[in-house]
């Protein structure tokens, strides 16, 4: 007789195994000759959209607005000065709020990628596709190109249908890898990022409804040390680092100065590559193509 405990064992094992089977890692991952590490600077250009979506009060919206009026301009200037190609994950609607800033980013050669239409993925499939389609159109209008990358929970099938090749989310592996959907298809390159390398975790009050007693506000020096340690470790490994930032957070003068020091120090080492996410994804697909998908 099969007990409930046996059923639990079988079920949990099955769930875990099929989740694991969706991942394809790249154990021999390497870069073009001369490159030891790729560092992706990624900007989630939420500005005030997420604040508005969560129905937060006016001062919270104004706090987000700093990102569009001030922060993004400074970060573009910083990346340009260091010849860093950044990737801006933007909500589609930000194209209507901050077209000037996004055009300036395009003119500097930075990549514009998807961060949902209004920072949410609708549950209704038709509306989800409507949102993704709107974002693709808005980004294409502003950049002259359709986006190929996303930082979102959009369905992989929909993303592949609209020409996406990568997703930058999650941390199932420290290096770029492939993930297929529940049906074993619609594989995408995954460019991992970890919340430890996310400015909002250290500098933003009331992030995602956190309680006051759980606030994570600290100073740039501490974060510099954490991020530098992460970079050093991955540099030794010949690995990958994705630094997730928000213009309303990292665009503050004290943090732009910290990033300036961080990039300067990274550049002192040989073989540090600062490409867009798209370049890393294309390198993966070209040099380490994924196994053929289930039919």
């Amino acid at each position: 007789m099969i007990s409930q405990l046996d059923r639990d064992l079988a079920e949990l094992r099955q769930v875990s195994e099929s989740y694991a089977a969706r991942h394809q890692f790249i154990p021999d991952f390497s870069y073009p000759p001369g490159v030891r590490i790729a560092v992706n600077f990624t900007l989630d250009f939420d500005s005030m959209l997420l604040r508005r979506l969560l129905n937060e009060p006016p001062m919270q919206l104004a706090k987000g607005e700093f990102g569009g009026r001030v922060g993004i301009w400074r970060l573009i200037e910083l990346f340009d000065a260091h010849k860093v190609k950044a990737t801006i994950f933007t909500p589609g609607r930000a194209c209507e709020l901050y077209p000037q800033a996004l055009r300036a980013a395009v003119a500097s050669g930075h990549e514009i990628a998807d961060h949902m239409w209004e920072h949410r993925v609708p549950k209704e499939p038709a509306l989800e596709e409507d949102h993704l389609g709107k974002t693709v159109a808005a980004i294409e209008e502003i950049s002259g190109r359709r986006p190929v990358g996303t930082r979102s929970g959009h369905s992989a099938a929909l993303l592949r249908k609209h020409g996406f090749i990568y997703r930058s989310e999650g941390s199932a592996d420290q290096w770029p890898h492939y993930v297929v959907d529940e049906n074993g298809g619609n594989g995408l390159v995954h460019l991992p990022f970890h919340y430890v390398i996310d400015d909002a975790m250290f500098f933003s009050f009331a992030w995602l409804g956190s309680e006051n007693a759980a606030q994570r506000i600290t100073d740039p020096e501490r974060v510099f040390e954490l991020w530098w340690a992460a970079f050093r470790q991955q540099y030794r490994e010949g690995g990958y680092l994705n630094i997730c930032m928000h213009p309303f957070v990292s665009g503050r003068a004290l943090r732009v100065a910290m990033l300036d020091r961080l990039i300067t120090r990274m550049k002192e080492l040989p073989g540090v590559w600062f490409p867009s996410c798209e370049e890393v994804a294309c390198w993966c697909l070209e040099r380490f193509p994924p196994r053929a998908e289930a039919a």
Partner: protein, 312 residues
Amino acid sequence: MPWKERYTISDEKSLADDEIRWPQGARCCVGVTVDLSVAAGPDGIRAADLTTPEAEFGANQGLSALLAVLRRYELKATFAVPGVLAHIYADPVRAVVTEGHEIAAHGFKHEDVSGLERDVERERIVRTTEILAEITGRRPTGWFSLPRQGDPFAGGTISPNTMDLLLDAGYAYMGNGLADDVPHYWVTDFASRRAMLTLPYYYHFDDQFFLMFPRKGTGLEHPDALARNWKAEFDAQYKRGRHFHMTLHPRHIGWCNRLQLLDEFLSYLRGFPGLWNPTGEECARYWLATYPASTYLRLEPSIWRDYPGSLS
């Protein structure tokens, strides 16, 4: 949708560093706000907030100690004072005026006004203005709505009517805004360009979020992080020629080693030439004359649209 209502309070892009000039060729503006409120949360000042040892300390030794440090470094500050506190502490408030600091309004009792009817809020603004005018001998020109330690967000609370009512009441500036790190305009009506001048505030430079936050006994003490934030922001803004700002509470910063920390930071500032240290009122007067909204508020025609299935 008219304009980008409920999303945007100002123009699309701030002034660039090289557009910003300060009086007499100064390199950087340094603003100090002192918050005298003892409100713990959105209710504003309650009887329980006034009858604590910390409130007593903040009104006496803490305040005197802070005034002495400001005097030593010849710094002028703007004191944000709720109407209720001005009424209770009339003598200490007059002493602050005697030292040359500015008294600005900070709500009737520093309460959350976001749910108030327009008429009720107007009445409170009028009454607060009268109280401060009577005690200091002149009408305040600045209004603050600073955050409290018990608030769910660290930006301060206003209603959809606040800015408009403050303009009606003749206020020259709002003391705390987060959309820029220099003074900027908070637009209340797009068509007419009606706008309130707003001075920059950021909670990373506000002592209350680092000193026994969120409340005494169960809070965490990070004066070192506060000091590093002040220094890092000042260095960066000095280099850019923009604006540095800090917010202080006598009941927090006035205590022991924390006051020493402020003293050391102000001593560090003294080593930099070309600092301009206006009160909020002086800063607002300069900004309104030099960067009037008619020229420097660069509102683009809106391309924002409403879509079915999207937030409006």
